[in-house]
Assembly symmetry: C2
Homo-oligomer: 149 residues x 2
């Protein structure tokens, strides 16, 4: 089937994912900047929101990024006063990361921005459509995750 135009990005979902992801990052970062947060940090914030202390390894797993990515991000977050590290009494290789008090205080504002972003992103979609979208995305993600080779 030569006429299906594999080169036309508008016809395939693939194209949209990167553009939506980049757009969300840009808009989200702009909205979070005054709080000192960034979209990439959201998984860390949510994992530690109740005062939990987690290792770098656990945070990387939760955020679904590689360990060196999380290491760098935590360095920047520590540098910026968002998180603190305490030595893990049970393992001298590891430290336990937690949010600083200042960060904990800013969380509700971050949460509000997040809620607004979620609603802006789906503006004009009905609840049913959003549900359909999420369930399709879930299936695509599963395919993508098992696609690696």
């Amino acid at each position: 089937m030569e006429n299906s135009d594999d080169w036309d990005p508008l016809r395939h979902p693939g194209h949209y994912f990167s553009r939506i992801a980049r757009g969300l990052t840009r808009a989200g970062d702009a909205r979070l900047r005054d709080l000192g947060f960034a979209t990439a940090q959201l998984p860390v914030l949510t994992a530690l929101k109740d005062g939990a202390e987690l290792s770098q390894k656990e945070l990387a797993k939760w955020a679904k990024v590689e360990q060196p990515t999380m290491a760098q991000m935590l360095s920047r977050m520590e540098r910026d006063g968002l998180v603190q590290r305490a030595p893990d009494p049970e393992d001298k290789r590891s430290s336990l990361i937690s949010l600083t008090d200042a960060t904990l205080e800013k969380l509700p504002a971050g949460r509000a921005i997040l809620r607004q972003g979620n609603s802006d992103m789906t503006k004009g979609l009905t609840e049913d459509e959003i549900e359909t979208l999420v369930s399709l995305l879930r299936r695509v993600l599963e395919n993508v995750d098992s696609m690696e080779p």
Copy 2:
């Protein structure tokens, strides 16, 4: 509505976009590596596939990335022998970029990989579901693009 759990990423589409986009990039790059291509270069390859010569500006617009992003990518692509620059006879500030012969020869193989990726990504979805997905993505992208502030 306190119980809607804004912090639960699985409930909102936002979470999925970054994971799907990163997964597609990783899998795509792995599959394209032997050809010497990368997923981020696909817009350039498709824009120039028929031997067209475009300026950096035009390529950036087509790929929907900022000009400095395209500048760096074209540098790498030139370094790797994928594209070549010719001075624009009508504007001394600008050059016209085109694919090298070696790249043109590898395009059909790249296209096959692309087709395979598109089909892997939507495995298990019916044609109707894919169409629904694309149309929802299109609407979300529109929202995201007008979200900036």
